[in-house]
Amino acid sequence: MLIEIRETPFDPLAELSRYQAKPDLHGKAGALASFIGLMRDHNEGDQVSAMCLEHYPGMTEREIARIIDEAQVRWPLLDALVLHRVGEMLPADPIVLVAVWSSHRAAAFESCRYIMEALKSRAPFWKHETLTDRGRWVDRNTDGY
């Protein structure tokens, strides 16, 4: 299990490839469900040219770890990987990667979505968007279900 907050751009698919090479997943994992959140160039009808993601170092990692623990109680998971970007970023930049390995697909699908939704509602991150003429804090996440 790995949780990391990244201050520089990362390639989620390359990270996933690297992590997936772990020998204990070989032949055991039948299912890998993953979600990648990417920065859009528009939000709520406005063009967004840049974004800055703030977080609460320490609490963020602990909250994500608690979320993964909860998922491991509910589903038989083999492994999980969560990477999250902070700092200044541009449209199309990857923001978050959530990946879950399991023997079977139902556990992988459901726990991946569970982790992602819990992260969005509980992990202490805050987005500040740069629009054409001003900046603004995103005031809440939309519901994902």
């Binding site: 993601l53 977080h55 609460y56 909250e63 978050v96 805050w126 804090w137 005031d139 996440n141």
Partner: protein, 77 residues
């Protein structure tokens, strides 16, 4: 006792600082710390609080050495 207080994101901007220290001799809750430090600013209704990196309610008791954080709804992911 001494409490380390932290503010994040839009709430940090409203309060005007990222970090403060609170000293008191009596038993204190999350809400009491806010009001003592920000007498002119009502606690926004959607504010979240955490004690030592764990979510806490406004009536939770804080202890000497605790880190208490106030922040707006989270918007990561």
């Amino acid at each position: 006792m001494t409490i380390r207080v932290r503010y994040f994101a839009s709430l940090r901007e409203r309060v005007g600082c990222a970090e403060a220290q609170f000293n008191t001799g009596t038993v204190t809750t999350v809400a009491t710390v806010w009001h003592a430090l920000n007498p002119d600013l009502a606690l926004p209704g959607n504010t979240l609080a955490a004690i030592n990196h764990e979510y806490a309610t406004l009536d939770a008791v804080v202890h000497d050495g605790d880190e208490l954080a106030f922040f707006p709804p989270v918007t990561g992911g």
